[in-house]
């Protein structure tokens, strides 16, 4: 196993363009943007469907259709339509992020014990209060698992940005393959994998912190 590219100090110099820290930073930036945009779109829709029970077939079908779209194909299509740049990459990655968050928000609300929701209504909560004070906190464990799976998927898939001339850790994979430098490809694969593990750890900690202790004790 040739780790020379990964451990060469020159490749870790932040000031050189194309160095690992720079690529890492742009990679995280793409992941962050895709997660923020994807959540902003999927979460309200998922909560609405879960809360009202209306349009659940949309949630299920959109979720399944979105999952089956090949990201690379979608990306190439977007580049043909929109040209190069960050926008086509963000669209392709956001489409990847939406299904798990949408379905987990919907499933999280649907799986709640309806007696709890009835009780909330019974004590005089308004629909908005039922959603924000009862349904959402109790659905958080399911919701977070959807978010974490979206985050892991997008960390791995954001490497496609390099296929259309952008940065990110995919540069190491694609440039390494193009010039037959497997040490570089390996470095890219390792950094992506480590980033995925770290991100999942951080989200696991966040999950412990934001989920009500009452819910945790019950499991």
């Amino acid at each position: 196993m040739n780790l020379s590219y990964l451990f060469d100090a020159a490749h870790w110099d932040f000031s050189t363009s194309g160095s690992i820290p720079q690529l890492l930073l742009s990679h995280i930036w793409y992941v962050f943007l895709a997660l923020v945009i994807g959540t902003a779109i999927a979460l309200p829709i998922g909560l609405y469907i879960g809360h009202t029970g209306r349009g659940s077939f949309i949630a299920i079908n959109a979720g399944n259709a979105g999952r089956s779209l090949p990201t690379l194909g979608l990306l190439m299509l977007m580049v043909t339509l929109l040209g190069l740049g960050l926008l086509p990459v963000l669209i392709a990655l956001t489409v990847l992020v939406i299904p798990p968050i949408l379905t987990s928000a919907y499933a999280g609300l649907r799986s709640l014990d309806q007696r709890v929701v009835d009780a909330a209504r019974g004590v005089g909560m308004r629909p908005w209060q039922v959603l924000t004070r009862v349904e959402l906190p109790m659905a958080l464990p399911v919701l977070m698992s959807g978010f974490r799976s979206a985050a892991l998927q997008v960390v791995a898939t954001a490497t496609v940005a390099a296929a259309v001339g952008l940065g990110g850790l995919g540069r190491l994979l694609i440039d390494g393959l193009a010039v037959n430098d497997y040490s570089r490809v390996l470095a890219g694969a390792i950094v992506v994998a480590v980033l995925a593990v770290l991100l999942d750890l951080i989200l696991a900690l966040a999950q412990r912190w934001i989920i009500s202790p009452g819910l945790r004790a019950s499991r």
């Binding site: 040739n2 190439m76 193009a178 994998a193």
Partner: protein, 310 residues
């Protein structure tokens, strides 16, 4: 939900382990692949680079061989030269369509010697540096060169005719090419050393493929590496910059083959293809794939029957 958290961590760890062991045994994954070489005896595995023309030529070779009763296994769309040459040397593939000049520059340390640019000189120099166990057959008259290509507007705006004209303005321009151009002599390095041309930015795209053409028409790159037989040049009225210092050598199409896979039948079939292949008929045939979106196999078949080879 704790279980899910653990599961995703474990799967990430498994993915990492798989990635490590897959690359771990050897730094070159192709080296462990006996897939191509261990095909039925007498079978020739034909490879190609990852662009339309290479695939078309590989398909023409394959069908010409099959017409002579040779068993053929197709392993197309492998990648850039740096990648498929390794595959050829380790026996994963037996035969490839190559370009004499580009192959010479890839094999010769420091690139082709000065003054070597005619098809004959290039072929002679190439024969001296071929990897052991491989040989080239007869080269075709057909040529397909790397070019620096700009749009009509860019050419007019900066009055560009040759690569030399780029020198004063390159600092404002972005160039797009395959990622390998960043490190190849006949890419950015040669442009800087031979012409003193240094671009503002390099965008790693594809080797003269749809991404590069698209970016050029949208002016997201101003200079693109497009192959001279590419039908998109005529279609988009692109301007191909002349190369007065011959950074890009003769690029005649030539079959590169493993000696162990070669025999008189194979040589005969491939030399017959080279004898009929011209830049003109290659350009029109390639346009059928690129512009008319016809199937490569049927286009190859059409070319072979037009030229009386099947």
């Amino acid at each position: 939900m704790k279980r899910f958290g653990r599961f995703s961590l474990v799967s990430a760890a498994v993915a990492l382990t798989v990635a490590l062991t897959a690359c771990g045994a050897d730094e070159d994954p192709l080296a462990n692949d006996n897939g191509g070489g261990s095909a039925a005896p007498g079978t020739i595995t034909v490879g190609s680079a990852n662009f339309a023309e290479s695939e078309l030529l590989a398909e023409i070779y394959s069908q010409a061989l099959e017409a002579k009763g040779v068993q053929v296994k197709r392993q197309f769309n492998i990648g850039a030269r740096e990648l498929y040459l390794k595959a050829l040397q380790d026996g994963s593939i037996d035969l490839l369509p190559e370009y004499n000049g580009a192959l010479l520059s890839a094999l010769q340390k420091g690139g082709a010697a000065e003054g070597v640019s005619s098809p004959e000189d290039v072929l002679a120099a190439l024969k001296k540096v071929l990897p052991s166990g491989t040989e080239v057959l007869e080269q075709a008259a057909a040529e397909d060169k790397d070019t620096l290509t700009v749009t009509q507007e860019t050419a007019t705006k900066y009055s560009l005719k040759t690569i030399d004209d780029l020198k004063p303005v390159a600092g404002q321009l972005t160039i797009g090419a395959g990622p390998e151009w960043q490190e190849r002599f006949q890419g950015l390095k040669g442009l800087e050393q031979v012409y003193g041309v240094k671009f503002k930015e390099f965008k790693p795209l594809d080797a003269g493929g749809p991404l590069t053409v698209n970016a050029l028409t949208k002016n997201q790159i101003q200079v693109g590496n497009i192959f001279s037989t590419d039908s998109s040049i005529a279609k988009n009225k692109f301007v191909v910059l002349e190369d007065p210092k011959n950074l890009y050598l003769a690029e005649n199409i030539i079959p590169l083959i493993r000696t162990t896979a070669n025999n008189p039948t194979v040589t005969g079939a491939l030399n017959a293809v080279s004898a009929k292949l011209t830049t003109e008929n290659l350009t029109t045939t390639l346009a059928k794939v690129q512009l008319d979106k016809q199937d490569t196999a049927s286009v190859a078949k059409g070319w072979l029957s037009e030229n009386g080879l099947v």
